[in-house]
C-alpha cells in the first residue's frame, strides 16, 4: 500500500495567498513505508550544453539516432520527447530552469519559487531515507537543483565524499561529538527565534515579511536537526564496492563512478531522489577533443559537429551503463530517470525544443514521442514533470512550475 500524501497544509496556505517558503515537514514525509512495497525513485540528469539536435532526435518514431545508439539495449524502456520546453530564453542563463520551468530571475513571482522536480520529490520523501535527496555532479555543476526558497543546491562533486556519506560510519566518539553539537544547536535555534521576535517588534510590515524568511529558516534547520538525530544511531549500509578514495580523477572516470554510487544509494535506500549534473566545463580534452563549450558553438562546421557527436555519445553510453546497473539491481521498474538539458541548441543559445528522455519507471514506453510543434498546441515540459511527480506518489499535486495539467500524450502516473 502506498500511503496517501498529505499536502493539504501547503495547498491550504497557497489558497490563502500565503507565499512564504514552507520547509519540509515530517507530515509531508512518507516515513512509514511498509517493508513489502518497493519505493518509487526519481533520478534526474542534466547537462549544460544540450545535445545536437541533428544527432539526438531520431527522424521517425523509432529511437534510431546516432546519439541514442549507445542506449540500444534499453530502447524498449525509453521515451524521447520532441518539442517540449518551458518557453524560456536566455541561452546559458536559461539552462538552470530545466527541472523547474522557471528562471531564478522570475522565481519571486511564483508561490513555490523555482523549486525543481527533484526537490519536490525530496520533500515528499522527507525523513523516510537518510538523505531526502542526493545532488551530485562534476565540478560546480550547472545549477540543476533549486529549493523552495529559490536557492540553488550545489552538487556533491567529490565521489569520495559521497561514498563517505553513504557508507562510512563515524566512530562512537565522533557520533557523541555530533550528538552534542546537534543538541546545543537546537538550544541556539530557540534563542535565535526569540531574538528575532524581539527585533521583529521594531520593524515595519515589509521588513517583517522579510524577517519571516529567517524564522522559516530556523524551523527548517530544526527539522533537519531532528532528522539528523533520528538517523545518527541507525547503522549505515555496508558498501558492496571497494572504498572510493579521495584522489584526482579524470572527468570521464568520475561520471561512471557517480552513476555507480547513485545506483548503490538507491539500492540501499539511502535516498530515493538523486540528481547528476554535467557542466559546460566537462573536460572533453580527456577525449582528445576541443573544449566542450567551443564545440557547442559549432556554427555548423562539420569538424566540430563530429567532435560533439563523440562527446554526446560518450554521455549516453555512460547513461547506458547506469540503466543497465538499475536493471541488474532490480530497481529499474521503480525508478524513473529523467535525462536531458535546459539547453535546446547550444550553437544558437536556444532554450527551446529541449532534449528530454524518460527511462524506466515501469512505464509503457513509446520510443520517439513527437509532441505538437505548433505554437498553440505545444505542451509545457512541466506537464511531464507534474505527471512524473504523480507517478512518484504525489497524486494530489495540482500544479508544478508552468504546468497546465498532466501530460496527456502518454500514460505516466
Amino acid at each position: 500500500m502506498r500511503t496517501k500524501p498529505t499536502l493539504k497544509r501547503r495547498q491550504f496556505l497557497r489558497g490563502m495567498g500565503v507565499t512564504l517558503a514552507l520547509p519540509t515537514l515530517p507530515s509531508t514525509g512518507r516515513a512509514n513505508e511498509t517493508a513489502e512495497t518497493s519505493p518509487r525513485r526519481l533520478v534526474c540528469i542534466g547537462n549544460h550544453l544540450g545535445y545536437y539536435h541533428g544527432n539526438f532526435f531520431p527522424g521517425d518514431e523509432s529511437l534510431n539516432s546516432p546519439t541514442l545508439q549507445p542506449l540500444r539495449p534499453h530502447w524498449d524502456d525509453i521515451t524521447v520527447f520532441s518539442h517540449l520546453d518551458h518557453r524560456l530564453n536566455g541561452g546559458h542563463g536559461g539552462v538552470h530552469g530545466f527541472l523547474s520551468g522557471i528562471k531564478k530571475e522570475e522565481a519571486a513571482g511564483f508561490p513555490d519559487k523555482n523549486i525543481t522536480v527533484d526537490q519536490m520529490a525530496a520533500e515528499y520523501v522527507g525523513s523516510a531515507t537518510r538523505y531526502s535527496s542526493l545532488t551530485t555532479g562534476i565540478d560546480k555543476g550547472t545549477h540543476l537543483c533549486w529549493t523552495r526558497a529559490g536557492v540553488s543546491i550545489p552538487p556533491i562533486n567529490n565521489p569520495a565524499k559521497l561514498f563517505q556519506a553513504l557508507f562510512v560510519e563515524s566512530d562512537r566518539k565522533g557520533r557523541e561529538v555530533e550528538r552534542k553539537r546537534l543538541m546545543h544547536r537546537s538550544s541556539v535555534l530557540d534563542a535565535l527565534r526569540e531574538s528575532a521576535g524581539a527585533l521583529n517588534k521594531t520593524l515595519n510590515q515589509t521588513d517583517r515579511d522579510k524577517l519571516d524568511q529567517y524564522l522559516t529558516s530556523v524551523r527548517e534547520i530544526e527539522q533537519r536537526l531532528q532528522m539528523s538525530q533520528e538517523w545518527l544511531d541507525r547503522p549505515k549500509p555496508r558498501a558492496t564496492i571497494e572504498e572510493v578514495v579521495d584522489e584526482e580523477r579524470l572527468h570521464i572516470d568520475e561520471i561512471a563512478l557517480f552513476y555507480d554510487l547513485i545506483a548503490l544509494a538507491l539500492e540501499t535506500d539511502s535516498t530515493r531522489v538523486a540528481t547528476f549534473e554535467i557542466p559546460m566545463g566537462f573536460q572533453t580534452a580527456e577525449l582528445q577533443l576541443e573544449s566542450y563549450h567551443a564545440l557547442s558553438h559549432h556554427g555548423k562546421t562539420p569538424g566540430r559537429i563530429e567532435q560533439l557527436a563523440v562527446v554526446e555519445s560518450f554521455l549516453t553510453s555512460k547513461l547506458n551503463g547506469f540503466l543497465t546497473a538499475l536493471k541488474n539491481k532490480g530497481l529499474f521498474d521503480d525508478t524513473l530517470v529523467v535525462f536531458g538539458s535546459g539547453m535546446g541548441d547550444g550553437s544558437k543559445h536556444s532554450n527551446r525544443d529541449l532534449p528530454v528522455m524518460l527511462a524506466g519507471g515501469g512505464l509503457e514506453h513509446r520510443g520517439h514521442l513527437i509532441c505538437p510543434q505548433e505554437d498553440h498546441r505545444r505542451i509545457p515540459l512541466c506537464n511531464l514533470f507534474l505527471s512524473a511527480l504523480h507517478w512518484f506518489g504525489m497524486e494530489e499535486l495540482e500544479h508544478f512550475g508552468r504546468s497546465t495539467g498532466t501530460f496527456a500524450p502518454m500514460e505516466i502516473a
Binding site: L192, S195, K210, S217, H297
Partner: protein, 817 residues
Amino acid sequence: MTTLPISIIFGGFFLLAGLASAEPSVHAFLNSYCTQCHGATNHKADRRFDTLPFSITTWDHLGAYQEIVDQLNLSAMPPDDEPAPSEEERAAMIEFLQAKIAKARAGIDDTGGHTVLRRLNAWEYRQTIGDLLGLHVDSWNPAADFPAEVKAHGFDNNGARLVTSGMLLGHYFSAAEEAVKRATHFGSRPEAKTHAQKSPFYFEGKAKEGLPKLYHVDRFRFIPETPYTDLYGRHYRGGHIGFLPTARGGLKESGQYTIRVKAAAVDRVHDYGNVLGDFRNGDPLVLEIASVDRRGSVESTGNISHEVILKRVELTTDEPLWIEWTGYLEKHYEPSVRFRNGPIAAKRMVRLLADKLGDRPEFAPHVNVESKQDRAHGMLKAYKGPKLRIWEVQIEGPHFEEWPPRGHRTLYGNLRESDLSRQSIAQRIRAFAQRAFRRPPVENELEPIERLVAAKLEEGLTHLEALQLGLQAILCAPGFVYFHEAEGKLTDYALASRLSYFLWSSMPDGELLALAATGSLKPHLLEQAERMLADPKSDRFVTHFIRRWLNVDNIGEMPASREFLSYYRDNLGEAMQSETEMFFRHILDKNLPPREFLAADYSFLNRELALHYDVEGIEGNAMQRVAFEAASNRGGLLGHGLLLTASANGVDTSPVIRGVYLQENLLGYTPPPPPDDVPEIEPDIRGALTIRDQLEKHREIATCAECHRKIDPPGFALENYDAVGAWRTEYGAKMPIDATGAMANGDTFENPGQFRQLMIQRSDRFKRCLVEKLLTYALGRDLGARDRDAVDKIIATSNGLRDLIKAIIQSDSFGRN
C-alpha cells in the same frame, strides 16, 4: 539595471513622440483584433483579454500584456483568416505596450524608497567576519560555501531580493563555529623560527613515506648531483617544488611569515621551435610563490585543496637572486614554488625532444638509453631551454603585531581562561553583541542568548564552552545578519553601517561607531567619507562595485575557452581585473569626471597584458601606467580586456549580447527582452555568412528591427575584439570584420575608434548611468521614481568621481529609508 533610466533618458523623447501621434487605445485594439477568440464567449488557448485591466498591477497582468506584445512582434496573432492591424498600427501598439510594461515592471519592483530588511550578502559577510575578528579572510573565506546570491539588475545586495534559507543558516552555524575557533588564542605567543631548505627538495628512503610524490625523486625532476633544482614546466610534475620542513601537515601556526627563494632564470632563449608548446621564446621566467593546503590529499597526487598565490616575479638573468615575500600565512598551509609560465610538462617535453630532436648531438646519446631514469635525466641535463633554477627556500615566522591577536581580545577582552566566570562571560556577551550588531541591541534581543549561555552552564558546559556557544549564536543572530535601517531618517548607527558597507563592504570601525554613539556622525559625514576612501579597505568597494557593475561574474561562469592559450599561460584574467581596478582607483583618487572612463588615452598594464593588447616595450609582471599612441585600439573602458571578456561568452562574441551589455551598463538603457518566440539566430561559421549578414536577415522583420537598430551597432563596433579582448581583423574562416555602423540617432562610425568618439560625446548619459549604478549599490535597492530628484541633484552639483560619491552620501536617498 535600475528602473530609472528609461524614463529619464527618453523622458523627453517619449513626450515628443506622445505629442506627435495620439496614444493608441489598447481597449479598442484588443476589441478589434483579439477578443473575438480570447474574450467573454471564446477563450481559446485558455486566454481572455476582455477582462484584462488597463493598469498593470500584478505579475499575471504583466505576463498577459507581455504575451500580447510577443505575438504582435512575431505577427503570429491574429491568425491569417482574421482581421489584422496594419503594420503601423501593430508597430505603434508594440511600442506603446512595451513602454507600459517597462513602467509597470518598475512599479511592481518599487519599494517606495525603502530598502527592505537587508541581509549581509556573502561578500559582506566575509569582510565583516574578517574585520570583526581580525581574521584573514583572503586566505580563509568563511562564506566559501554559501549559496549564490540572487541578483537584481546585476547587484547582489538588494534587500528585497536577497534570500535567507535554511541552507544558508546552516552555513552560518559552521562558519561561526570555525570563526570563533580561529580567533581564540589563550595560549602563549608562538615562537618565531627560521626554516631553510637547500636543494635538493626531496626525501629519500624512509623519510619520504606517506608524503606526496612531489617530494619523491623521479625521472622527471630532481636530477641529483647539482647544487640546485631546475623547474622545467608550469605543470605540477617538474614544475612545482614543495618545502620539506613543513611537508607534514604544513605550518603549525597562523601568523606573519617571510618567505625567501634563491632563484635564477636560465636559458630563456631556445632553438627548439614549437616543441616547447606555447612558451614565448625569450620571455622572462615567472617565479610564483604560493601557499597551499595539502590536507585531505592522498599520497599518489599530493593535490591541493586550497591555495593562495602570494607573489609572482619575472626573472631575466641567470645570476641567482633572493626573492622575498612577507605576509600572512594560515596554519596548515605550506609554501610552494612554481614556474608559472614554464613550457610543457617535463614528461611530455622529454618525449617530444626525443621524438622530434633526438638526432641532435646533445640528445642523441641519451635517446636510446635503457634505464628510463637515466634516459630522462640525460635528456634533461642536455636540455638547453628555459629553466627556473632554485637553490634554496627559507621561511621565517610566525610574527605577530600583538599577542593575543586583536580578534581574541574582541571576543574575550583581557580575560584569561581562568578568569572566566558567570559574571565575566555575561559581560563579554554584551560587549561582543554590541560590536557584532553594529549598534546597541534592541530590547530583549540579547536576553535569549544570555539565557542560553546560563542554561548551558547549568547543563554542565565549561565557562569557555558556554561563552563560545553564546558568541557563535550572536554571529548567527538576525542582529548580526541583517542591517537595521528601520523607516524614515536613518539613525546615526544605521547611517554608519550604510556608509561603511558602501565604501568598505564591511562593518563600521571604532571611529564611526564612536561618532554614532554620540549622535555626531551627520556633521562629520564628508570627512569620514574622505577618511574611508583613503583607507585600503575601500579597495573592496572598487573591486566589488566593478564586479557588479560590469558583470564580471559572467567570466567565472563562462571562462575563456582553453583554446585561448595565452589567457591562461599569462594570467590575463587576473591582469585584466587589476587593470580595470587600478583605472577606477586612479579616476577616484584624482577625482576625475566619468568622461575619463571613456576618454582616457592610458591604462594600467603589465608585460603580458600589454602584449595581449599589441603594445610593445612594457617590462615586468607589475601593473604600470601605460600611455597609448593616438592610433591605438585601446583607451578607456571600451578597450579593457575585462569589459570585452565579460561581454562575451568565453568562446565567441555576439554583437547583440555586447550591444545590450553596453546599453545597460554604460548608457543606462535596458532594451526590452526579446520576444519569447523569435527564433534564435543560428550561427553559421562555415564561411558563407558573417554574423552581420545573419543579423541583417533578422532585422528584415520590421518589429525586430526597431530594437536591434539600437542594440546592435555598439556591439558591431566592438567586433574587432575577440572573446578575450584581443584585436582581430577577421573571423576564423577568413571572413573580414566589418565594424561600421550607425547609432540610433543616425551618427555613423567606421571603426571602434570613431565609435569611441561617439561614446565620449555621450558622456552625460554615461555619467547618469554610473551615478545610478553607484546609488543602487549604495542603497541596496532598486531606484524608484522618488530617487529621481536625488540623482538629478547629484549630477548637477558634482563632476569628479570622488565628488559624485560624496554627493551620493549626502543625498536625501542615502540619508533616509
